[in-house]
């Protein structure tokens, strides 16, 4: 996979998340289940490989996992408290 033009944060995967959420998600916030900090989804770090991992910008713990899983098709796992406003 090339590193070409990738946004490595919640802003960059907002289009993909927009296939799932009907609301604008980058300005929503999340309270981390591990370190307790509150950050905008746009500020979270994103890692793209076979799927997408979104991580807390402070402690690095998982905020969301999105990918495809065998017979399940698309799978999304959200962690922490997502404050959608």
């Amino acid at each position: 996979m090339t590193s070409e033009g990738f946004h490595l944060d919640g802003n960059g995967i907002a289009g993909t998340l927009g296939e799932i959420f009907s609301m604008e998600i980058t300005s929503a916030e999340r309270i981390c289940q591990t370190c307790g900090t509150r950050s905008a989804i746009g500020a979270h770090r994103a890692y793209q490989g076979a799927g997408i991992a979104l991580r807390c910008p402070h402690c690095g713990d998982i905020a969301a996992l999105l990918g495809t899983m065998g017979d399940h098709g698309r799978v999304l796992e959200l962690r922490g408290r997502w404050v959608l406003g």
Binding site: E4, G5, F6, H7, N11, A14, G15, T26, G42
Partner: protein
């Protein structure tokens, strides 16, 4: 909530994200490795400065490649502009830079985002930090300021490798003449002609660029991850509240 309301007001028809078929109306070389592409997008719902679009290329065999690009044009501009840095071994950018031309279709969806955005109503001071092509969404903000004849206190610190790598150089000069304080640091510039900064962003630069935390600037930092982390951390150390420091990270410097 205030931001959501603003967004809804500016883009009232913003429905679910759909792929739209645009048409390239302008295609020009910006620097030695960057190309600006202006697209006419039917039924474009409007955007805020700082938002981006996803671009999708589909090969004849059905293979798809998708990339996210910041919007370079102001909301008030005609046509939607993106500036693409050409990565030689990339899947998408060589096509966009070399093969795509005026009149060609281009599929995109957007606008995307809402966190890394600025509208005049949010006021200033506006403090912008761009690393390389991280300038693109900040340029949309500077263009928006200009199109609205705003006098908002706006300052930009641009970090680029050399003078030849600076995007929108002429327009930045014009912006400087129109009251935007623009500072450059050119980390690989070896020309004797360049008398300015040649190092990574540090505390001394931040003090020169200002304004101090007491002025409560709204801050946008965009560029490669190490640039963004370094600048954002220094700003927070200086006393800027983390919620006033908005970030957008690109891929590795080559990105």
């Amino acid at each position: 909530m205030e931001r959501t309301t603003l967004l809804e007001r500016l883009a009232p028809h913003r429905g679910p994200l759909v792929w739209r078929a645009g048409t390239v109306i302008e295609h020009h070389q910006e620097t030695h490795d960057a190309t600006t592409i202006v697209v006419d997008v039917p039924d474009w719902p409007g955007h805020l400065a700082g938002m981006h679009v996803d671009v999708r290329l589909t090969a004849e065999d059905g293979y798809e490649a998708q990339r996210s690009y910041s919007i370079a044009s102001a909301p008030e501009d005609t046509g939607l502009a993106i500036t693409v840095k050409r990565i030689d071994d990339g899947e998408v950018s060589p096509y966009l830079a070399d093969e795509l031309g005026v009149g060609d279709p281009l599929e995109l969806r957007g606008p995307i985002g809402g966190y890394f955005t600025w509208h005049l109503d949010q006021g200033g001071p506006l403090l912008l930090f761009g690393g390389g092509s991280g300038l693109v969404p900040l340029m949309a903000m500077i263009r928006h300021r200009r199109r609205e004849s705003s006098k908002a206190d706006t300052r930009l610190l641009l970090s680029a490798r050399t003078l030849a790598d600076v995007l929108y150089a002429d327009e930045l000069t014009r912006a400087a003449n129109e009251g935007v304080a623009i500072h450059y640091t050119l980390t690989s510039e070896i020309s004797d002609q360049w008398k300015g900064w040649t190092r990574r962003v540090d505390a001394e630069m931040l003090a020169v660029v200002g304004p101090p935390p007491v002025a409560h600037p709204l801050i946008f930092v965009c560029g490669p991850t190490p640039f963004v982390e370094s600048v954002a951390n220094q700003l927070v150390s200086l006393g800027h509240p983390p919620e006033r420091v908005r970030t957008e990270r690109f891929g590795p410097t080559g990105g």
